[in-house]
Amino acid sequence: MFKFVKYDLEGCFKDFVIMICTIIILNLLLLTRINLWDSNIIIFLNLVISFVAEIIVIVWNIKLFSRDIYEGSAYLVFTTPKSGKNILINKIITAILQCLIVLFFLFLFTAILVEMLNLTQGFTFGLKITFGRLLSAVTPQFIAYSIFVVLIVYISFLLTVYLSLALGRVAIKNRKLGKLGTFIIFVVLCIIQVKVENAVSNVFPQGFMLKIFNNEGGQSWTNFGNAIVNTNNPFISGVSLNIAEISVSLIFIIAMFYATAYIIENKLDL
């Protein structure tokens, strides 16, 4: 089932090693600047490293699919007796794994850096609450929901890109024009998704509130932080979630998955 994942990850192994070594070296260099540079500058540079690394991962994720659509490896992948769904799910899993591995290292070094800055320079992100306490104060429902949302948003983004690539490849035979066409299709698909989601949430405004902090945590937050204590503050009342909007997002993901899988299995001419 997941045989392509193995080869896709193996293929980017060297890039991964280079990327992770670079993240480690740059963050170690930042650690040597503690007490020499202002803590805000060190954190800013750490965020720049994270941002650049994430951009590179997104490029990898897109290339993972575009390579097998436009280059010679298409003959390797699409002559195998595997369905479009199988190929696509393997690409999505590989992309998420690439993202998670890099995110793990970025998060690890950011946490180390923040902790070191806290110990040496008393850096607290402008909040008088430690990172550990903040995490323990958040409700498990909110953590689960956050992971769910991040996954859904990223999978939705990947599928929008992959569907645009597949449509661009099928509709436009010229490679350069195809890539421009892909970009235009991507923009159009994004606009359609946003418009439909907004329209549906306006027609069906029903939703529910999801509490961010448990009672004790929320109290700590309002006691320690600078947040304005009123009932409209989402840190206290929770975040409002629209059921129809979430449902439409999920429907879009399913539709884009099946559309892309169908195109690469039945419409792609090499």
């Binding site: 045989k3 293929g11 010679g72 003959y75 002559t79 195998t80 007796p81 090499l270």
Partner: protein, 231 residues
């Protein structure tokens, strides 16, 4: 004799260009068929349709009674006329890839063929010469126990010694249970392999027959018939 491939009035058009224009062909089980024709006659287009990576505009193509798709991809072993392996791969990775993807892949046979072809499993794909790449691709394709082997220019750009090695490999691995369809420009080198020959021009078969019968009827080699047909 059982039919493995049957095409009826097969057409493929790209905008204004017609690549296949009503192609009719039937390939029987256990036969080696040469598909011969000049550049742009529709050979590669036809093979891509058999491999399931190109859709015909109209007409019918049946492989073992099925239209090209996932099921037929498991029965057809296709050698494209271009480099298609990932550049990061070593030969061992390519062998493992085929072993993972195809149930009919015989890893032991692949090992033996690599030795026969003088290829080391540790070699990197991107460092192989044209001839070595051809030998590797053919090893991978012939190591499958497929019902239909579709070879697009297996001798393209390789020296005469390598050519002989490749032809020997094809003959050595051919069984009565499978059929082979080969396209080539090097007719004289490969014609000894053919049981049947199909001459293709402008997207249709202009001459088809048993290779031996064609030779004795016209008192010419297949190479000479080719020159006469496409004069």
């Amino acid at each position: 004799m059982e039919t493995i491939l049957k095409c009826t009035d097969l057409k493929k058009s790209y905008f204004r260009k017609t690549a296949l224009n009503g192609l009719n062909l039937e390939i029987k089980k256990g036969r080696i068929t040469g598909l011969l024709g000049p550049n742009g006659s529709g050979k590669t287009t036809f093979l891509k349709i058999i491999a399931g990576i190109l859709r015909p505009s109209s007409g019918e193509i049946l492989i073992n009674g099925n239209r090209p798709g996932i099921k037929t991809k498991a029965q057809v072993s296709y050698l494209p006329d271009r480099d298609y392996l990932y550049k990061w791969m070593r030969i061992s990775d390519a062998v493992n890839f085929f072993d993972d993807m195809y149930d009919d892949f015989d890893k032991e046979k692949a090992g033996e063929m690599l030795k026969f072809m003088n290829l080391s499993e540790d070699s990197k794909v991107r460092e192989l010469s044209k001839g070595m790449s051809e030998k590797l691709y053919l090893t991978l394709v012939l190591s499958r126990k497929s019902q239909l082997y579709v070879l697009d220019e297996p001798l393209g750009g390789v020296d005469p010694t390598t050519r002989e090695k490749i032809l020997d490999a094809i003959l050595k691995n051919y069984t009565e249970e499978s059929s082979i369809l080969i396209t080539t420009h090097l007719v004289s080198d490969i014609e000894r392999l053919f049981d049947d020959v199909a001459f293709i021009s402008e997207g249709r078969i202009v001459l088809f027959g048993n290779a031996e019968e064609l030779r004795s009827e016209r008192k010419m080699s297949i190479d000479e018939i080719y020159r006469e047909v496409f004069r």
